[in-house]
């Protein structure tokens, strides 16, 4: 095992993730599909188990010991998440995932818009931050505009300025591209958006797992992320929103929990954050995400970021030594390595890597518009996280050589 330069002890961290012990096709698992979903530490898995075994009850409604314990744990998780992103407790709304969060915002924030009002997204967006806006625009007669990428696959500065104007009402931009790893200047875009009197949303699905987040510093109006990519369980995500804006916004889902008083002719809504949380939530998962956030905080987000860079640099150097590899995306990037092997389709790359125990993702990564801009239909994508090692990168590189050997390229 190579010694790492960061103060993080990867070997100790690996012991916390039981799945990393398993073998795939007789080989040790090398999990490089972290941008799709991360693995979970034992603490998180145990938290779900412990909840169901010890205090399973509905939250906010049951006046008995279990109900109180469940409510306290669920709301404690919210508090931890608020702290994790430097926000207030009422500003953290639990959703099912990023997709639901972005739909919530797409429905709530467009309700006051008029025909011809403009929404700005970018060519880099995940379908989750693309299709909701496209469809709202279509139904409400809004205009959807796209910030273009430059030759380095970064958002073009001129295009940002050109597209965000006084006509703009909403800007929604991914913090980090899941397809090619571009890190977008969301603070600058938020400033430009606000200068034009519009609302700024950030899709932080790929950023929350990897970089320290400070809502006060980014100063977007909304920030969306998904628990399962940041060591948490599936089924829980977060919409952060500035309190005064959430207060002014229409709820998205109606039903139980989100109400204050229901009469035959009208309903008043619950206060924040519950106004946006209709129905019984994913209680165990919410609690689990709180535990995941504890874990990330314990390791330190700055350490994770430094370690990501270290491992990415190592992988970049190695992959560039191989003939016939195209790497997509900018030089400065998050720990996402999107590439193609000349003469081999990404699916076949992925399948052969799998035979060596290496799990990557192949395809359009839910970014079909971006793929068309890049002029390709698919890439192979390796994405790293805190438990990955240089030794695993070596296995991955050897597996790429196997691909080339099998295909004779």
């Amino acid at each position: 095992m190579l010694k790492t330069k960061t103060i993080m002890d990867v070997e100790t961290i690996r012991k916390d993730f039981p799945i990393l012990q398993r073998k795939v096709h007789g080989k040790p698992l090398v999990y490089f599909d972290n941008a799709a979903t991360s693995q979970k530490p034992k603490e998180v898995i145990d938290a779900l188990d412990f909840y169901y075994n010890n205090y399973n009850a509905n939250v906010h409604r049951s006046i008995h010991q279990l109900g109180e314990e469940a409510t306290a744990a669920y709301e404690k998780a919210r508090e931890k998440i608020a702290e994790f992103i430097n926000a207030q407790y009422e500003e953290v709304i639990f959703t099912k995932n990023s997709t639901e969060g972005l739909n919530l915002l797409a429905y709530s924030l467009t309700s006051g818009l008029k025909q011809g009002d403009e929404i700005v997204i970018s060519q880099l967006e995940h379908h989750s931050n693309f299709v909701p806006w496209q469809q709202m625009a279509k139904h409400l007669g809004l205009k959807l505009k796209f910030i273009e990428i430059n030759e380095n696959a970064e958002l073009d500065e001129e295009s940002i300025k050109k597209n965000i104007t006084k006509k703009t009402k909403i800007v929604s931009i991914g913090h980090i591209s899941n397809a090619i790893g571009t890190i977008n200047p969301v603070e600058d875009i938020a400033r430009i958006t606000h200068e034009n009197g519009a609302l700024m949303i950030v899709d932080g699905s790929q950023a929350a797992p990897h970089i320290p987040l400070d809502m006060k510093k980014i100063d977007s109006d909304f920030y969306v992320f998904t628990g399962h990519k940041m060591l948490g369980p599936t089924g829980v995500g977060v919409v952060y929103g500035k309190k005064e804006l959430l207060e002014a916004s229409r709820p998205f889902l109606y039903g139980g929990e989100m109400i204050n008083e229901v009469k035959f002719d009208d309903t008043t809504f619950n206060k924040l954050p519950w106004k946006f949380e209709a129905g019984t939530p994913n209680i165990a998962e919410g609690i689990g995400l709180g535990v995941a956030v504890d874990y990330l905080t314990k390791v330190g987000m700055q350490n994770i970021l430094n370690r990501d860079r270290e491992l990415l640099d190592y992988a970049m150097e190695k992959i560039k030594e191989i003939d016939g590899i195209t790497v997509y995306g900018p030089k400065e990037r998050a720990s996402i390595l999107s590439f193609n092997v000349k003469g081999v389709h990404a699916h076949d790359v992925s399948q052969i890597l799998d035979s060596e125990g290496v799990a990557i993702r192949a395809g359009h990564h839910c970014c079909m518009p971006l793929m068309s801009v890049l002029g390709i239909s698919a890439t192979a994508r390796a994405s790293f996280y805190l438990y990955n090692t240089e030794q695993e990168v070596d296995t991955f590189i050897n597996a790429i050589h196997k691909v080339k050997k099998i295909f004779g390229v």
Partner: protein, 131 residues
Amino acid sequence: MDMIELMYQENILDHYKNPHNFGKMENATVHHHEKNPLCGDELDMFLMIDENKKIVDVKVHPTGCAISVASASMLSDEIKGKSIDEVKNMTKEQILEMLGIPISPVRLKCALLSLDTLKNSTLIFEKYMRK
């Protein structure tokens, strides 16, 4: 030979690198395009069908992974000279047998894109004949 070498055997790779009946056809009786939205594999199939419903010529223009391209190539050989009635009820099992390699569940879609394209082509043809 391990599983992966069985899957990517020479025969499959030959079809992938040099698909049979590759290309497009100007005056095809039926031209149909099919796309696998999950992975982006695409296939254009061109059939020249005579008055006896016989497929007298076929061209395929696939883009995608080795499995989907090889499957299109092999299927084009398979159906050439047969009648629409003979091929319209081809099954998944026949395609898998034709490929002759182990296909994992996630790759089934790649393997069967050719069959979907063929089936839809025959449906289009029959609809057109009824008019």
